[in-house]
């Protein structure tokens, strides 16, 4: 089984510096791309590989690049790596950033070359302090080795790369909010259209790609589109970093072929549920995806298969809900996060999310009323895609709407019993 992204990363080993990286064939894709590919050929290859955005939205990466206007050679353009990994339960990019930073840098050089961008940024989550240190060092190494800067490898192509650390706002992971933040403005998303490919950072054509997406680029260039497509088990190409967190025996992160089933992840890789814990459901791709439940265990974790059962692949990092955890409390925790991370730009998200959070808390506290469930339902409808300015609130509604669907009796129990059924367990009844 091939693990192109993580093959050289191993736990408890230091990161691959330039020497280590080149020793295992690193920067071959840059040599190749700059010497024997035109920018259009790179884009075509990536498009043919059917690589889809690993940040959660799953848009064809090559296609995204193809929207960048290429007719004016003097046009300023930007490439940005979105390393603002703040989706709850998600820690996949961190592994790539801390383990093999040159893989990302290499991917960025090739991608920047494809769109002929001469300036690039890595927008990094503030809390990834270790990654920041490592990336800074790796960028310096790349400059010293001539992979960054002017006239890279004598090709005439120039690329500057900057590390920008955010200040810890979830919304900065939204690509247009990221652009505003990078410009020094409030991290408020922008409307699309115009798409960043046309009017992005500082009003110039810009591509924002997720770290994992960019890390795939060197391998696609080295091995070809057909190789990449063949890595997937189902309809989608490549490998995927899958994660599992929750009450499982071995929570962790694995690079597996795209399309690995939930069951395989849970039982083979995460070692099954801990003794005494039952599986009740899982958010398949971070906090902003709909619950999957027992009946979905054999669903393939790829874009289409997960979407077919009403959820999203998202980031591919799963959070498990077990039978000792109150689903209402679980969802309340998530809505608290989302309400707090709303940028405050549009009304539904700014005012609607805190309301759902407050209702969920009152349910947890045993003060809920049946009409509260109706209100929650209304919110899941009115905070849907298209009604809000960006995808934050619709994402926030995904665990809630599916929670109401699959765990409705638990919600109702809170109301009828005027308390959280898990209260005693949580408070430790043995103390009485």
């Amino acid at each position: 089984m091939e693990r192109p992204l993580t093959q050289h990363i191993s736990a408890n080993h230091p990161w691959l510096n330039l020497k280590d990286y080149t020793a295992v064939g690193g920067y071959q894709a840059v040599h190749r791309a700059l010497k024997s590919f035109t920018p259009q050929e790179i884009t075509k290859t990536v498009q043919d590989s059917e690589l889809r955005g690993r940040g959660g939205a799953g848009f064809n990466t090559g296609m995204k690049w193809s929207f960048v206007p290429m007719d004016d050679a003097t046009q300023t353009k930007y490439l940005i790596a979105n390393a603002d990994e703040m989706e709850p339960g998600t820690f996949k990019d961190r592994l790539l950033l801390e383990g093999n930073p040159h893989q990302l840098i290499e991917g960025m050089i090739v991608s920047a070359y494809a769109i002929q961008a001469n300036t690039s940024y890595i927008f990094l989550r503030w809390a990834y302090k270790k990654a920041a240190r490592i990336i800074k060092e790796a960028i310096n190494e790349a400059y010293a080795a001539g992979y960054l800067g002017k006239n890279i490898l004598g090709s005439g192509f120039n690329l500057e790369m900057h590390l920008h650390t955010g200040v810890g706002r979830y919304i900065c992971g939204e690509e247009t909010a990221l652009l505003n933040a990078l410009e020094g403005k409030r991290a408020t998303p922008r409307t699309k259209p115009p798409f960043p490919q046309v009017s992005g950072l500082f009003g110039k054509p810009t591509i924002v790609n997720n770290v994992e997406t960019l890390c795939n680029i060197p391998h696609i260039i080295n091995n070809g589109a057909a190789w990449f497509k063949a890595l997937g088990l189902g309809a989608d190409a490549g490998t995927k970093l899958y994660g599992v967190s929750g009450q499982v025996n071995e929570p962790g992160l694995w690079e597996l072929p795209m399309g690995t089933t939930v069951r395989e992840l849970l039982e083979e890789h995460a070692g099954g549920m801990k003794p005494g814990f039952q599986f009740r459901g899982a958010l398949p791709g971070g906090a902003s995806t709909d619950f999957l439940v027992t009946e979905h265990l054999d669903v393939k974790m790829d874009y289409q298969s997960v979407a077919a059962v009403g959820s999203r692949l998202g980031t591919g990092t799963m959070i498990i809900l077990d039978d000792h955890t109150c689903p209402v409390g679980f969802i309340h925790n998530l809505e608290h996060f989302f309400a707090q991370e709303s940028c405050g730009w549009c009304t539904p998200c700014r005012e609607g999310l805190p309301w759902t959070e407050k209702i969920l808390l009152s349910l947890e506290n045993g003060q809920g009323r049946l009409e509260d469930l109706e209100l929650l339902e209304t919110h899941t409808k009115h905070l849907g895609p298209g009604s809000t300015f960006c995808a934050l609130a619709p994402g926030a509604m995904e665990p809630l709407q599916s929670g109401l669907k699959y765990f409705r009796e638990d919600f109702e129990k809170h109301i009828h019993e005027k308390k959280c059924p898990w209260d005693e367990e949580r408070n430790g009844s043995h103390l009485h």
């Binding site: 922008r190 409307t191 259209p193 009017s199 009304t347 700014r350 309301w355 009604s387």
Partner: protein, 902 residues
């Protein structure tokens, strides 16, 4: 044009607009918050959701924000779709989760967009059961009150203040449901247009603090259409009164002039009307007691006004009617403009240039669409504030057009600004010191007034080599001149802005030469003239001689009578000159609103009604005649229109007895007959006999309350409302309730639209003209250009003489204007007097910043703290015009600078 289908009915609308404005233009009541007609769409509030269908057969449709959708031909949408309605109601419910239920004690109540939209969507019952979030309010200065708890986060305040008006000290802070709009710290809002926040804010977060001092609900005000009196632009305003006190000025939309906004001087400068310093009664100084009744006054005046040695001195801040009535009283040959010889000459040069047919004088609105601007010798922010605001929009025109080229529609405000970033269109400024607009300019030349003119002459010469060139011009200046000339030439709509602020005629002549060189018969060059006061242009058009000539005339006339109309002459010329003029006066009759240095010299002093108590016509800087109307009948019956007094004096002089005095006839008709240059002014507003469906237009909204009770402490019977024979407006709630002609619009109101946003209903299309045409009649006739004749009296380069400085007046929006200073908030914002000197002069004279220096002008000493400016050319001294008694100076002045030995 495009055809769209709204709820199954076809409508023809303009293509390229957004769906929200199209729906509003069609008259639909579609609620919105974050969109503003002048500022475009950003899609934040999600209030204007409609359902849009893919095609005719699509029954599902999807919710879309109408403000973010471009109108397309064959578009199918529904406003009344249940899902869309439920969503719009939900938005209000969300906004209301944190909005206090304090309408009863909120200043916005009754004219609140949020109230209107809440009613419109039908949200009524509260389901949110949790505590509301609260904020700490800030002190924002004397103009604007802050009440953040009411905020619904529509972001319009910061979009107006920062993006539209260029302000720096108001921003959005924090995040999620705790967004805060305010300053980094408590403090005065610095921007000159901050008052518009009260109208831009859809609810009661930012409200008019001056109104708060004597609060009245909009529906309880008696209002009249009016014209701002505080500069030459002639912005349209609505003035509101209650209990005999002027209480509020709001913007009156005029698509050609001020659009949606006015400046803070215009909005807050009205307190002089209510001032304790008003002249309350006729005064005859020789009598004891001085204050007299009308009979005594007329008897006393009998001899004086019949005197053959009589002259009348008019005023650039008095209406055409009052100036004309004075002229008719004293005779045309005895009527003088109340301005200095030099200023009269400046106005003459402007009129000469306009009448020679080489320039087009654009409206304020037109200046917004200029694509290259050159400003000579004016500090717009201070001399003509709203023009600074339109220039600010104009410089973004080109970058925004570029955004359109990549498919970003002009109304898509956030996207076009993100695309344009800080790019600005070409703007050049030549002024002695830095001005606020410098930040937007491509190039700023800080030059002496004569050198500004020389730069202008050089540009004219570069545009057309038959125009005379200045001698010995600096290489660098020539380079800039070439760049400006090229830019103006390439531009599609170049605009030159100049004026009278520096009292330099050469600048006006240089501009005339540029205009002749730049324009053609088909496409005349646009020149926007900034003149001094609200009727400077009207007075100049009367073509009377200046004060200097009045003084000369007086010399020959013993035992004369001088009548001064609404004019403090000490603001017009050197103190010694005016003193000398007064020494030669026999009977000095002064009509004015407030006591001032000139009224103190009067032997007879007569109270004159202010703009709020009078009707009249003013001609603004573009030659637009506009009328203001009496807002209320003053309790003090002595507050009579100057034209009424003067016309009565005329009748009286002709022998009518006091009892037989008639209402003045149609002064405007008389004026136009005698002075054809004013033709059209009589049509600036419908005449007094105008009726709609036999009805007058009420000054009071139909909810005007307390009418039967408000004077009950004096008399329980309801008094008969005053009758207004001078205008088609009535003093009651009764009358025509529809949309009157623009010049007669006393307030904006439409069913369901109580706030100022109701202006949507008055416009032919959103952001367009008021139905039936905007206010004002342009008096400058289109004349074909006379042959190209250039001014050739080019001044020599300014050379500072040893021991002599050129003193120039620096304008201040707050402080330089005579009447607005009576508003305490404006007085508070007035700068302390100072003298600006150059770095070179400071070093030569060993002067430190803030050190007291003595500036001697015409033997008058002014002790002022020094402000050292690097950019100011040496040999120049700038002092704030009219600020804190810096009056009585003949501009431009020669001065001597000395340090004061401590």
């Amino acid at each position: 044009m495009a055809v769209i289908y709204i709820d199954h009915r076809a409508y023809e609308v303009k293509a390229g607009k957004n769906l929200l404005e199209s729906c509003l233009t069609l008259g639909f009541n579609l609620p919105y918050f974050c969109w503003h007609p002048a500022m475009g769409s950003v899609g934040a509030c999600r209030q204007c959701a409609v359902k849009i269908f893919k095609d005719k057969d699509d029954t599902q449709g999807r919710l879309m924000m109408s403000c973010m959708e471009a109108v397309k031909d064959n578009m199918y949408l529904s406003i009344s779709d249940p899902m869309a309605k439920a969503f719009r109601s939900q938005i209000i419910e969300w906004l209301m989760t944190n909005h206090p239920h304090d309408c009863a004690v909120c200043d916005e109540g009754g004219s609140c967009h949020l109230q209107d939209m809440t009613v419109m969507t039908g949200h009524a019952y509260r389901r949110f059961q949790y505590p509301k979030r609260t904020y700490k309010n800030q002190y924002l200065g004397p103009f604007i009150n802050h009440e953040m708890n009411r905020c619904i986060q529509c972001y319009r305040c910061v979009r107006f203040y920062k993006d539209y008006a260029g302000g720096k000290d108001l921003d959005a802070f924090a995040a999620h449901d705790h967004i805060y709009f305010g300053r980094a710290n408590d403090g005065v809002l610095e921007n000159e247009f901050s008052g518009n926040l009260a109208e831009v804010c859809p609810t009661g977060v930012f409200t008019d603090k001056s109104l708060k001092e004597h609060y009245t609900r909009k529906w309880d005000m008696t209002m009249a259409p009016s014209i701002c009196q505080h500069c030459s632009l002639g912005c349209n305003i609505i003035a509101g009164e209650r209990y005999g006190e002027l209480r509020q000025i709001t913007n009156r939309y005029n698509g050609e002039v001020n659009g949606y906004f006015i400046c803070d001087k215009g909005r807050f400068g009205y307190e002089f009307v209510n001032s304790m310093n008003r002249i309350q009664q006729p005064i005859i100084r020789s009598k004891i007691p001085e204050a007299v009744d009308k009979n005594t006054l007329y008897n006393h005046l009998k001899a004086a006004i019949s005197n053959r040695n009589i002259i009348g001195i008019g005023s650039p801040r008095a209406s055409l009617e009052s100036n004309f009535a004075l002229m008719q009283l004293v005779g045309k040959e005895n009527f003088y403009q109340g301005i200095s010889e030099r200023d009269a000459q400046l106005m003459q040069t402007i009129l000469h240039t306009i009448n020679s047919g080489h320039v087009h004088t654009p409206s304020l609105k037109e200046t917004e669409s200029a694509d290259a601007i050159f400003i000579l010798g004016e500090d717009l922010t201070n001399a003509a504030p709203l023009l600074a605001l339109t220039v600010r929009q104009a410089v973004q025109r080109r970058p925004f057009e570029k955004a359109q080229e990549i498919g970003i529609p002009s109304w898509h405000d956030a996207a076009r600004r993100e695309f344009a970033q800080e790019k600005k269109g070409p703007l050049f400024i030549a002024y002695p010191t830095k001005t606020k607009l410098d930040a937007l300019a491509d190039n700023c030349q800080h030059l002496s007034p004569d050198d500004i003119a020389r730069l202008g002459f050089a540009i004219a010469n570069l545009l057309n080599d038959t125009a005379p060139a200045p001698q010995e011009i600096d290489e660098d200046v020539l380079k800039i001149a070439q760049h400006i000339a090229n830019t103006l030439k390439r531009a599609e709509k170049p605009l030159i802005i100049c004026g009278t602020s520096l009292h330099n005629e050469a600048i006006l002549k240089a501009v005339a030469n540029i205009a002749v060189s730049l324009g053609s018969e088909d496409k005349k060059a646009s020149v926007f003239y900034v003149v001094e006061e609200c009727n400077s242009m009207g007075l100049a058009m009367m073509q009377a001689p200046s004060l200097e000539q009045a003084r000369a005339a007086l010399k020959m006339k013993e035992a004369n009578t001088v009548i001064i109309l609404e004019n403090d002459l000490y603001r017009r010329d050197a103190k010694a000159t005016i003193d000398h003029l007064f020494e030669q006066c026999g009977e000095l009759i002064v009509l004015d609103h407030l006591h001032n240095a000139t009224s103190n010299q009067a032997t007879v002093l007569i109270p004159a009604a202010t703009f709020a108590e009078a009707a009249g016509t003013l001609v603004n800087n573009e030659g637009r005649a506009q009328c203001f109307f009496q807002v209320f009948r003053p309790k003090n019956e002595n507050f009579r229109e100057s034209w009424r007094w003067l016309d009565e004096f005329r009748q009286f002089k002709k022998g009518a007895s006091l009892e037989d005095l008639n209402e003045p006839g149609d002064l405007m008709a008389e004026l136009v007959t005698l002075m054809p240059q004013f033709k059209g002014a009589e049509e600036a507003a419908p005449s007094a006999d105008f009726r709609i469906a036999g009805q007058k237009i009420p000054r009071e909204p139909h909810r005007y309350s307390g009418r039967t009770a408000m004077l009950a402490n004096i008399q329980v019977s309801e008094p008969k409302p005053p009758e207004d024979s001078d205008s088609p407006l009535s003093y009651t709630m009764e009358g025509y309730r529809g949309i009157p002609p623009a010049p007669l619009t006393p307030f904006f109101w439409s069913p369901g639209w109580n706030s100022v946003q109701s202006v949507n209903k008055y416009q032919e299309e959103i952001g367009g003209a008021i139905r039936g045409g905007d206010t004002g009649k342009r008096l400058f006739q289109k004349v074909s250009a006379v042959e190209k004749i250039f001014f050739d009296d080019i001044p020599t380069a300014y050379q500072a003489l040893p021991g002599e400085w050129l003193v120039i007046p620096l304008q201040h929006i707050f402080g330089s204007e005579e009447l607005s200073i009576y508003t305490h908030g404006i007085a508070e914002r007035t700068p302390h007097p100072y003298a600006v000197i150059s770095r070179q002069d400071a070093e030569d004279l060993n002067i430190n910043e803030n050190q007291s220096i003595r500036v001697t002008i015409a033997e008058q000493d002014y002790e002022l703290p020094a402000t050292i400016r690097n950019e100011l050319p040496s040999g120049l001294v700038g002092i704030p015009d009219h600020v804190s008694g810096l009056s009585g100076i003949s501009w431009p002045a020669k001065g001597i600078l000395k340090t004061i030995a401590s």
